[in-house]
């Protein structure tokens, strides 16, 4: 489980007068489940990109536990992200031509970070997301099944934080429901902090905390008492 501590983050692009993201300070406790919402263009994706190190910032600090990823080189950020962040995206980004199990193992394999138990863990995760046919080619699966494979992939290397970007937006309501439940349950059972960007109330409503962005700034930050079901 990782905690996040943002300080003096400001992201602006040339040609734009206002910064797309401007956060003087934001903390997320280890093990909490946080929703990030906001209209499109409010800076949600930018926030996700910078906290996962996909995009680089020049000022401020992004501290995950003890590690500040701002001064890290691109190579180090890639390595850090591979080890500590599980990513789930709206478009799955699974690789056609490979089976479910190979897709789950691919990032670890490319990083040469496969450990002896990883294949078993991949099978276990596949069962945990409710799939049984490990050798099924990814392109023959339904979208709901694909997103479940993506969740299993994100959890393979026991990441300290699970980041999901609109994980249910391209799914029908039944599949979306199942995926939302899986994200929450599995982040709990795998001891991962969960950050979800979503408009889906079925998903955001089950999380502990909801951060709303407007024009790159935090406009509301609501803490809920009741834990997710």
């Amino acid at each position: 489980m990782l905690s996040l501590d943002l300080k003096n983050i400001s992201v602006s692009y040339p040609g734009l007068s206002a910064p797309v993201l401007d956060i003087p300070s934001l903390s997320i406790a280890a093990g909490s489940r946080v929703a990030v919402t906001g209209a499109s263009g409010s800076g949600k994706s930018t926030l996700i990109n910078i906290v996962t190190g996909l995009e680089r910032v020049r000022t401020g600090s992004i501290r995950w536990d003890k590690t500040d990823i701002v001064p890290l080189s691109e190579r180090s950020r890639d390595r850090w992200r591979g080890t500590h962040v599980g990513l789930v995206m709206q478009d799955f980004h699974l690789f056609p031509g490979l089976s479910a199990i190979d897709n789950i193992l691919l990032p670890a394999r490319l990083s040469r970070a496969v450990q002896s138990g990883d294949k078993d863990r991949a099978m276990m995760l596949l069962n945990a997301v409710g799939l049984s046919r490990a050798e099924q080619k990814i392109e023959t699966m339904s979208r709901g099944e694909m997103q479940r494979v993506a969740i299993a992939r994100a959890l393979l290397r026991k990441p300290g934080v699970l980041v999901a970007d609109e994980p249910t937006a391209s799914l029908d309501s039944d599949s979306g429901d199942a995926v939302a439940r899986l994200l929450i349950d599995l982040s709990v059972s795998n001891d991962s902090t969960l950050i979800v960007v979503s408009h889906d109330p079925r998903l955001t409503g089950r999380l502990d905390r909801c951060i709303t962005l407007v024009a790159g700034r935090v406009s509301s930050d609501v803490l809920r008492r009741e834990k997710a079901a």
């Binding site: 890639d78 690789f95 990083s111």
Partner: protein, 429 residues
């Protein structure tokens, strides 16, 4: 990683196949040109190797070589008959064999010569050397059985030559393969050729002919002057059982060429010097070939330039396609990076994937080029009898290596493009 690359190539098999074939054909073009030129050079050199010195009447050295060594039907002027008797008596000469052309049988050239040549050109695999006027020895590639009766046609049948009725040769022997044009020849005693064409040893017409411009056309058919010019010779029946008379005298009829085996290399040079001028022309076939190759070399340079041009075009096309392809795959590449694949892994994937295609294409190109050269050589050998040895040499390895290195460098371009893509930017695209 290999799993990923293979899955990717399987998914994009049609495009991959096109790239492989493009590269294969471009490579094959260059390979075929190189191999074919080398085969032609080696094959003709080997075919000429059997003949140390060729003596003919003054004229084109190339023509003399083509007619005597490669048995191409072409016009050759005649030299006086006494040259042969002088050569036979020369102590520097191991053997000297006359050759006379002009007749053919179902596409095989009939060559009048002496029993010496028929015996020394190549060992006989069957039968024996001719010993009578009506006997013949055939080359390994002549598809006729021993004992077969060969009725010579004047010139070539397809050119409307008439069949000689005065004499038929009985095949008595077959030579082992030599890999030269002579494998397709039917060797007969030269006296019979002279007799058939009304040039008996004691007729001296051809000496007049040699000076007679009106008969130049006749000479163009080789040693067949006076055949159908309505001259006074008669088509008398020739006795096929007449014994060979190989005592060449000054009174022997004129000849288009004499093949000479000098005793030593020094003798060869002296003989060549002595028989250049005074109505004769002596050539080393190897030397004439070298001059021919110089011309051939220019042609090869042109062909090679064309092949290289084609290869550069294909390289540019492949580069264009892959750069566009990488652009289309920005999201996928971005995703790989986002999930933690290091930049080097992305670089390696893109590079390896393209390089794999190119390498397969190059390999296939060498196979196709080799096959094409083999087929072309086979066609050529079938027509001329000259064996063209198609084979790779050490320098081909160097050129294969150079092409492969070039391809490896080329594949680096899209790989570096992919390497430089930021994962976030790629995902946004």
């Amino acid at each position: 990683m290999t799993l990923f690359i293979l899955a990717d190539l399987r998914r994009l098999w049609a495009g991959s196949l096109v790239i492989v074939l493009l590269i294969a054909f471009a490579t094959a073009l260059g390979v075929a040109v190189t191999l074919q030129e080398r085969a032609l050079r080696l094959g003709s050199a080997r075919a000429a190797d059997k003949f140390d010195l060729v003596i003919g009447a003054p004229g084109s050295e190339t023509q003399l070589l083509l007619s005597s060594v490669f048995l191409q039907p072409s016009p050759l002027p005649l030299m006086p008959g006494d040259v042969l008797s002088k050569l036979s008596a020369d102590p520097r000469v191991s053997w000297a064999a006359p050759v006379g052309f002009g007749d053919s049988f179902s596409g095989y050239p009939i060559v009048g010569t002496s029993s010496v040549l028929a015996g020394t050109l190549s060992a006989l695999t069957e039968g024996q050397v001719f010993s009578r006027a009506g006997e013949a020895v055939i080359g390994a590639a002549v598809k006729l059985p021993l004992g077969y009766e060969v009725k010579p046609t004047h010139g070539f049948a397809e050119l409307g030559g008439e069949t000689h009725t005065e004499l038929a040769y009985r095949i008595t022997g077959r030579m082992a393969p030599t890999g030269t044009s002579w494998d397709r020849a039917i060797l007969v005693p030269i006296q019979s050729v002279w007799s058939l064409h009304g040039m008996g040893a004691h007729e001296h017409e051809e000496e007049e002919h040699a000076q007679d411009g009106a008969h130049q056309g006749e000479h163009t058919e080789g040693a067949a002057p006076g055949h159908d010019d309505g001259d006074d010779h008669e088509h008398a029946h020739i006795d096929p059982t007449a014994p060979l008379d190989e005592a060449w005298t000054a009174a022997s009829p004129g000849l288009p060429a004499i093949l000479v085996k000098p005793k030593t290399i020094a003798d060869a040079y002296k003989l060549r010097q002595d028989y250049r001028g005074n109505g004769t022309l002596a050539v080393f076939p190897g030397e004439v070939l070298t001059n021919l190759y110089a011309t051939l070399g220019d042609a090869k340079r042109v062909l090679s330039a064309v092949a290289i041009g084609a290869q550069v075009l294909v390289a540019a096309a492949v580069l264009l396609v892959t750069v566009i392809h990488i652009g289309q795959r920005r999201r996928q590449i971005g995703a790989l990076r986002a999930f933690g694949a290091p930049q080097t892994a992305v670089l390696l994937i893109v590079w390896l994937e393209l390089f794999l295609l190119v390498a397969v294409g190059i390999l296939l190109g060498f196979v196709i080029g080799y096959g094409a050269a083999r087929i072309l050589s086979g066609l050529f050998s079938g027509e001329s009898g000259v064996l063209l040895p198609v084979g790779f040499a050490r320098e081909d390895l160097a050129s294969a290596l150079a092409i492969t290195l070039f391809a490896a460098g080329l594949a680096l371009v899209p790989a570096l493009l992919a390497y430089r893509q930021s994962p976030a930017a790629a995902l946004r695209a």
